[in-house]
Amino acid sequence: MYAFGYHRPGSVADAVKLLADHPDAKLLAGGQTFIPTLKQRLAQPSDVIDLGGIAELRGIRAEGDNVVIGAMVKHGEVMRDATVKSMIPALADMAGVIGDTQVRNRGTLGGSISNNDPAADYPGAVVGLGATVITDRRQIAGEDFFTGLFETALEEGEIVTAVSFPKPVAAAYEKFRNPASRYAMVGVFVAKTAGGVRVAVTGAGPCVFRLPEFEQALSTNFAADAIQHLNVDASGLNADIHASAEYRAHLIKVVAKRALAKIG
């Protein structure tokens, strides 16, 4: 680690102000990505602004047909939360397959989506459910939020405060873990929502993406059989020592079918 200044604001407004005052500052949420980055000296922020003291970023609440989850809510809380489990059980399932117990008890929703690791699980759920990302200054549709490899629509100094997840008719998440990191090598979130069927794929490409062909096929028949005849194009998918693009393309279908089979 390099030396840095440390701040622990008590409100989002204070955090925004600190960010404005310190252009080379970085936000700290659960620290699961950020702390290792600092320890390996891959980042050198002038200041670290710890979001851990901001009450308004915590908490899970139902707002009509939506579940609104604060940016600092930990994966473990989402996994266990009664409201999430009753309204969107697939979201609780998704949180339950992130990392391990220690990671789930530190890592946060806001940290995960702001980081936008291509292998993270949350982006699948946000796009798959058609959720809305709420920041200190605006609301961003989930799909517009994730813009590329570790890239988001967040502007300089913008803070994610919550995400609003609409309750789907039916949904499921299935993940094929990278055997080493246990992140998603391929993760598929399928949902039947008021606005139609959504299929979001994470882990396989540089950034979460939807599969229109699958969605179309599933609109008439929301079952694994419906996508049996479809194949996923491997071009543009990730390739590494664990999986080639071709294998990832194959897995997307396998994993999507498993997600659909869960819904039954």
């Binding site: 080493a180 020592i241 294998y247 396998v254």
Partner: protein
């Protein structure tokens, strides 16, 4: 009789401190005025060092010194050595390039140590290390062992084709003749994947030069502190041996990787005199991946000649072994004397020939890793045998049975130098078949198929050689050291016992087993025995722990020390009991006059020895006995492992359903510890077969240099093991009848897993059997079937 003696599953003494976080590891040791080292490491696999500008680093806050290979050379230090001289077929000695403790003019792998910064704090050392400017002249790199010969890359001066040696063993003429006569030949090509040892505790060192005493102390993560002392004094030349103490306190796992003498520990010791401060270094995990000696990395071709009944007539093997960029401490003997000598396996194959070419590459050094040569031999033999069974349409159990060395053939002289003293292979096979319910396999396979899964079963009948010895023989084969062991039993006035051993425990549980052994031998309370190891200023000189040698060699030395205590005790008892020494018998901690009820406890005898008011005239007081032991032979544990697994054809995922391990370890001191050792070994062996792989790209970058990419086995990757230790065949040449169990699991398991994978999917793939590889193999067979 001691209740916690030999044969009982006593809970481990050391675990309380380990699991409560009160162990004392090298990094826990803080010396006054301690400074910190940070190494500047090469980012290139192969490059000349054109210049090093350290001026900016030297000017940074807290920096005490910046040192490079130039100072090492100027101080006239020697380099790290490889302690086993292997000779090529033509009699020429192996070609070992220099291995300086800081690179001199050239770097040869990513992570090679170029310079060291010593500073007041670790952060300051890191900051300054980043400011050391090294100008490299990047050279082409040779990474792949199969290609390095013709790569045109010269890793060391005057070592053509990067060939370290071209060695052979066995009778080539007889082997070729048998092949000419054979009814059938089965052939396999195999890669033994490269592994990173990944001890939980990374390597660390704390060097301390004491100005007043003109003496050095090195705290280090070592499996063999006396060997470290020897190499650092006699070869690197930092301090004379009597002025150097090496202390390996608690060590958090080694698996071989902490046998070797590394540059960093030498540099910390050397630099401590330069800066007149204790100097500490602790590897971070990335440094561990890059610079710990790796394991395995062989490419082999093996052929078995058989008659019409599947009897093995001859085995012919060629192996290319990757040694990495420098020859690590014992690297040369791993793909030779610890590998090819095991190629007979459990079989009476009459003729065997193997030749081995060892090569330099621009990768981290490769040396012993749990099993060291024997896993490579077992993987090769047991894969080949399974393929033989397939070719001959024989049941894999049956082909083994037909070729086993029969029970009455022991001692059995193999065609590859070793003589097995004892063994009995069929009972292990029978027990394994029973525990694995082999008979029920076809039905289980049907059930899997009904679920759309492929099921496979695979065998492995391993042999291994533990406690490498005797010293005279290994010396004649090129070893630079003797491989005996030592122990001292020291009694205090109150009858408490300190055992000093030259072995070193870094997870094995010596503090428990050695105490059990002494409790049994001397009839003292188990609680009253403390085992001391790992400090060259305290313990007897010893050779350390590796190759499953501690009990078979060190334990036997301890028995001999106990025998000396008993012999002396008899003299004292005879005096006190006014009897003749010949009439004194020792049993369960009491010296008594045969046929009478007159006796003295060992406590009373010890007290008499230390307070010799009434004592045999002329006998030395005190009760402290030392023994050294040089075994007559290796010990030969063996066993049969059966793996049963399911493959999901959609994803290629392999899931082990059941793993059965039946071992013959001879006699057992603590069954619980033995079972634990087997569990750990199986986890590593299954890790090698299914998960682990160290991958360098073509330019020599290690791309699996963190746990994000290097798949360590986790508990949920593994089944609950079925482990059984047979009554076994006791080793014939040590009094305990023990053989060694530390590596067996890692040796026997990879072929069992890979044979099961091959059985399930119908083709053979290389380790690790990752989901993608399995899936691709299945795709290929499907395409082939479709084409038919």
């Amino acid at each position: 009789m001691a209740t916690n003696g030999i044969g009982s599953s006593v809970k481990r003494k050391e675990d309380l401190r380990f699991i409560t976080g009160s162990g004392r590891y090298t990094d826990d040791i803080q010396l006054p005025h301690q400074a910190y080292a940070c190494f500047v490491r090469s980012p290139h696999a192969h490059a000349t060092i054109n210049s090093i500008d350290r001026s900016a680093a030297e000017a940074m806050p807290g920096v005490l010194g910046v040192f490079t290979g130039e100072e090492v050379a100027a101080d006239g230090l020697g380099g790290l050595i490889c302690g086993w001289m292997v000779k090529s077929k033509d009699g020429s000695p192996m070609k070992a390039g220099p291995h300086p403790i800081l690179a001199h003019r050239k770097v040869r792998y990513v992570g090679d140590h170029v310079a060291v910064v010593v500073a007041e704090t670790l952060q300051q050392a890191r900051d300054a290390a980043e400011a050391v400017e090294v100008e490299y002249g990047v050279l082409p790199a040779a990474v792949d062992v199969a290609k390095t010969h013709d790569s045109g890359v010269d890793i060391h001066d005057d070592i053509p084709n990067n060939l370290v040696y071209d060695w052979e063993i066995g009778d080539k003429v007889a082997t070729d003749a048998a092949f000419a006569q054979a009814k059938h030949v089965t052939r396999v090509e195999l890669i033994n994947n490269r592994l990173v040892p990944n001890a939980m505790e990374p390597r660390a060192a704390l060097g301390h030069y004491d100005t007043g005493m003109d003496a050095y102390t090195l705290y280090t993560t070592s499996q063999n502190p006396h060997v470290a002392r020897l190499v650092i004094s006699a070869f690197v030349g930092i301090a004379p041996e009597h002025k150097l103490t090496v202390i390996a306190p608690d060590v958090g796992g080694g698996f071989g990787s902490k046998i070797f003498i590394y540059a960093e520990e030498c540099v910390c010791l050397w630099a401590s005199k330069k800066v007149r401060r204790p100097v500490k270094w602790t590897a971070d995990r990335t440094e561990a991946f890059l610079s710990d000696a790796h394991g395995r990395d062989h490419v082999s071709v093996a052929e078995m000649a058989m008659d019409e009944n599947g009897q093995f007539l001859a085995l012919r093997v060629n192996t290319k072994a990757n040694m990495g960029a420098y020859l690590s401490t014992f690297s040369s003997c791993i793909p030779t004397y610890l590998y090819a000598t095991l190629l007979a396996g459990q079989y009476k194959t009459p003729a065997i020939y193997c030749d081995v070419q060892a090569y330099y590459t621009n990768t981290a050094p490769v040396d012993a890793y749990r099993g060291a040569g024997r896993p490579e031999a077992t993987y090769l033999v047991e894969t080949l045998v399974e393929e033989c069974a397939k070719d001959m349409k024989l049941d894999p159990a049956e082909i083994r049975r037909r070729n086993f060395i029969p029970k009455d053939a022991f001692p059995y002289q193999t065609p590859v130098a070793l003589q097995y003293d004892t063994g009995d292979y069929e009972p292990c096979l029978d027990k394994a078949l029973e525990l694995a319910d082999y008979a029920g396999f076809p039905e289980r396979r049907r059930q899997s198929e009904a679920k759309g899964k492929l099921r496979g079963i695979g065998f492995s009948a391993y042999i291994e050689a533990c406690g490498i010895a005797p010293s005279a023989v290994i010396g004649s084969l090129g070893a630079g050291v003797g491989l005996w062991e030592s122990a001292k039993v020291r009694f205090s006035h109150t009858g408490k016992v300190q055992v000093l051993t030259g072995t070193h425990s870094h997870g094995q549980g010596h503090e428990t087993t050695f105490a059990q052994l002494v409790a049994s031998k001397l009839g003292v309370a188990y609680e009253d025995v403390d085992v001391i190891h790992g400090d060259t200023s305290k313990t007897t000189v010893g050779m350390g722990t590796y190759g499953s040698r501690s009990l078979a060699v060190g334990g036997e030395a301890l028995v001999k020390a106990c025998d000396k205590v008993i012999a002396k005790g008899k003299k004292i008892a005879a005096h006190l009991l006014e009897a003749s020494e010949q009439d004194i018998v020792f049993q369960d901690g009491n010296f008594s006059v045969a046929g009478t009820d007159r006796s003295k406890s060992i406590g009373e005898i010890v007290f008499a020895a230390l307070v010799p008011h009434n004592y045999p005239p002329g006998l030395e007081p005190g009760m402290e006995e030392t023994a050294y032991y040089d075994p007559a032979n290796f010990t030969y544990p063996s066993g049969v492992y059966i793996c049963e697994l399911e493959v999901d054809p959609d994803s290629g995922v392999v899931e082990i359903q059941k793993f059965t391990a039946v071992d013959d370890f001879g006699n057992v001191i603590n069954p619980m510890i033995v079972e634990g050792q087997v569990h750990g070994g199986l986890a590593q062996g299954i890790g090698q077969a299914l998960l682990e792989n160290a991958v360098y790209d073509e330019s020599g970058q290690l791309i699996s240099a963190s746990y994000m990419d290097y798949t360590m086995p986790r508990a949920d990757d593994l089944p609950s093991f079925v482990v059984h230790t047979t009554a076994g065949t006791a080793c014939t040449h040590n009094s305990l009848g023990v053989k060694g169990c530390g590596e067996a699991g890692a040796i026997g398991s990879p072929p069992a897993v890979m044979n099961a994978v091959a059985d399930a999917i119908g083709t053979r793939i290389s380790m690790p059997a990752t989901p993608e590889k399995v899936w691709r193999a299945l795709q290929k067979t499907q395409l082939a079937q479709a084409a038919e």
